[in-house]
């Protein structure tokens, strides 16, 4: 079997393994949960707390609301697609911002010293706090902006995505070996030419893994903000509202969770393609 084939197989096997674990615990675990030394250790295993895996998938075929026209599959897919586009926008804008900041920091030492601490601190602010803050700032500006909750979600995706890209690119730009730098110097090439012909390509192996992190960060930023802000159309919103129905329709929540997972997978695939493109023609050990 090819290496790639084996990878796909492992992916499927891992899912089967988790699903089997879920069902196994559901079969043998205590229905009402259990406590050890007064602490609640064992989760409830009834159908409300842990619906069967097959019920979750079966739910996809039913309408979203009882007697409704549209199947929940279509609704979740549409929401995931909506959130995916927001995430992609956040990923692209965040990466561009990260690269731009890295170039500025590499060019101006002062800029790096002034900005770096704030960049690091910025990532410690919980996004769940930041989302309403950003949104109320936007809403305060104008009525049109108040309508655009999705924009707030994208901004927060950008906020999470730019950081790994800025760090990775900066490290790459600064790790250019002395010999090629001297060579560019011997051609009397200026800073920007050296950036374009040498430092930037040299940073690509550092950029590729940073983009992987940024892709994941963009998805988290967007979906968490959607939950926090209740962005219409987004998969985060579905998780929020389906969660409220969890007592009456337990598998419903999981359809939205699977939708979010699919969104993450598609983003991972996009980033992997970009990685392939960037790292083609590189020495095999670096790729």
């Amino acid at each position: 079997m090819t290496k790639r084939g084996r990878r796909y197989l492992m992916f499927v096997l891992a899912f089967v393994f988790v699903a089997a674990g879920w069902e196994l615990y559901k079969a043998v675990g205590p229905e009402e949960g259990g406590t050890v030394l007064g602490m609640r250790i064992f989760a409830r295993t009834d159908d409300r707390a842990m619906p069967h895996i097959w019920d979750m998938f079966a739910r996809f075929g039913d309408p979203e609301v009882r007697g409704g026209e549209e199947s929940i599959f279509v609704v979740v897919l549409r929401a995931a697609w909506y959130s995916f586009r927001c995430s992609l926008l956040a990923f692209v804008a965040g990466s561009a911002l990260g690269i731009g900041l890295a170039v500025l920091m590499a060019r101006f030492r002062l800029f790096e010293r002034a900005l770096m601490p704030y960049l690091v601190i910025s990532q410690t602010v919980p996004i769940i706090v930041l989302a309403p803050l950003i949104f109320s700032l936007m809403a305060y500006q104008s009525r049109e902006l108040a309508e655009k909750t999705w924009l707030a979600a994208v901004l927060l995706g950008v906020f999470l995505a730019f950081f790994p890209v800025a760090m990775g690119t900066l490290r790459g730009l600064q790790s250019t070996p002395a010999a090629p730098l001297e060579l560019m110097d011997s051609y009397a090439a200026g800073w920007w030419k050296t950036l374009w012909k040498l430092r930037f390509p040299n940073a690509v192996p550092y950029l590729a893994p940073a983009l992987r992190l940024a892709g994941a960060a963009a998805v988290v930023g967007v979906t968490v903000s959607e939950i926090s802000l209740g962005v219409r159309f987004g998969v985060g919103r579905l998780i929020l509202s389906y969660g409220q129905e969890a007592t009456s329709d337990p598998p419903k929540l999981y359809t939205a969770v699977f939708g979010a997972a699919a969104l993450g997978l598609v983003m991972a695939a996009v980033v992997m393609l970009i990685d392939r493109l960037l790292m083609r023609n590189r020495p095999p050990e670096a790729a």
Partner: protein, 275 residues
């Protein structure tokens, strides 16, 4: 006087009373080079040799204008070293080939031409010509990491010569190669430079390499870095594998070795005085 003036302006490299002090006035001040005078004639091959810390690489970088002298002047074909660098009047090669791993072999060779603003067809043509010169014409589309160390170094030389500079500056370019490849590369370098009439300043650790390649071997000593001896090799221009076994060759090797040993002894003596 008139005569010497014109001769000076025609020389390939003129180094006049150059001093280079690093960290001047600080506790870690290093007198890297003191009172350096050196004239290199067009088409001449000069080897710079000396123990580590003698400033041979620093001297090369002063000629290349990658460093600025603390005092004194460096002139290349009558221009300031800075102007010569801006005009890309020289090519340079280092111990690490310094090839860009993301560029194919031909695009590596084209790099200096690209920076000079040549158009693509002209660049391709020149790259191919250079590849033939270093006898690797079939490797244009390869990536550098697909080549052996010796081949990579040949590509680096092709890159250094791509814009047909009259001066080639080399800093231990064969230092990382095995002995067989190294000797082969030395012969190739002589062939290439003789064909183009290129002036070469070549930094090396190896006495036989210095002697085999050079018209003159400049012997340097450390603390402070200075020129202590210049050995005229006088083996003529036609050098081949037999040259390495000739009596004259060994005589020159011995001469350079003794010049270097003199430095070592003086250094030890000074060490005893310091105590």
């Amino acid at each position: 006087m008139e005569n010497t003036m014109t001769e000076t302006s025609q020389a390939a490299v003129v180094v006049r009373d150059v001093n280079k002090i690093f960290n001047q006035g600080k506790p870690n001040q290093v007198d890297a080079l003191v009172g350096i005078d050196l004239d290199v004639q067009p088409g001449e091959f000069i080897s710079l040799i000396g123990p580590s810390g003698c400033g041979k690489s620093t001297l090369l970088r002063l000629v290349a204008d990658l460093l600025e002298p603390t005092s004194g002047t460096v002139t290349i074909h009558g221009k300031t070293a800075h102007q010569a660098r801006v005009d890309q009047d020289y090519g340079m090669a280092f111990q690490q080939s310094g090839l860009f791993e993301w560029r194919s072999v031909e695009r590596n060779i084209e790099l200096p031409l690209e920076l000079k603003g040549w158009d693509k067809t002209k660049r391709r043509e020149r790259a191919q010509e250079m590849l033939e010169l270093v006898k690797l014409p079939e490797f244009a589309k390869h990536m550098p990491w697909q080549l052996s160390g010796g081949m990579q170094q040949r590509i680096a030389i092709a890159r250094a010569l791509a814009s047909h500079p009259k001066l080639l500056l080399m800093d231990e370019p064969f230092g990382a190669l095995d002995e067989m490849t190294r000797e082969h590369m030395q012969a190739e370098l002589l062939r290439i430079c003789a064909a183009a009439g290129t002036t070469v300043v070549f930094v090396t650790h190896s006495i036989p390499e210095a002697v085999y390649l050079a018209d003159r071997v400049v012997v340097m000593s450390p603390r402070p870095g200075r020129i202590t001896d210049i050995v005229n090799v006088g083996l003529g221009r036609d050098r081949n594998e037999l040259t390495r076994e000739a009596g004259d060759f060994f005589a020159r090797v011995t001469e350079v070795r003794e010049a270097l040993r003199g430095i070592e002894m003086a250094d030890q003596a000074r060490g005893i005085e310091d105590r």
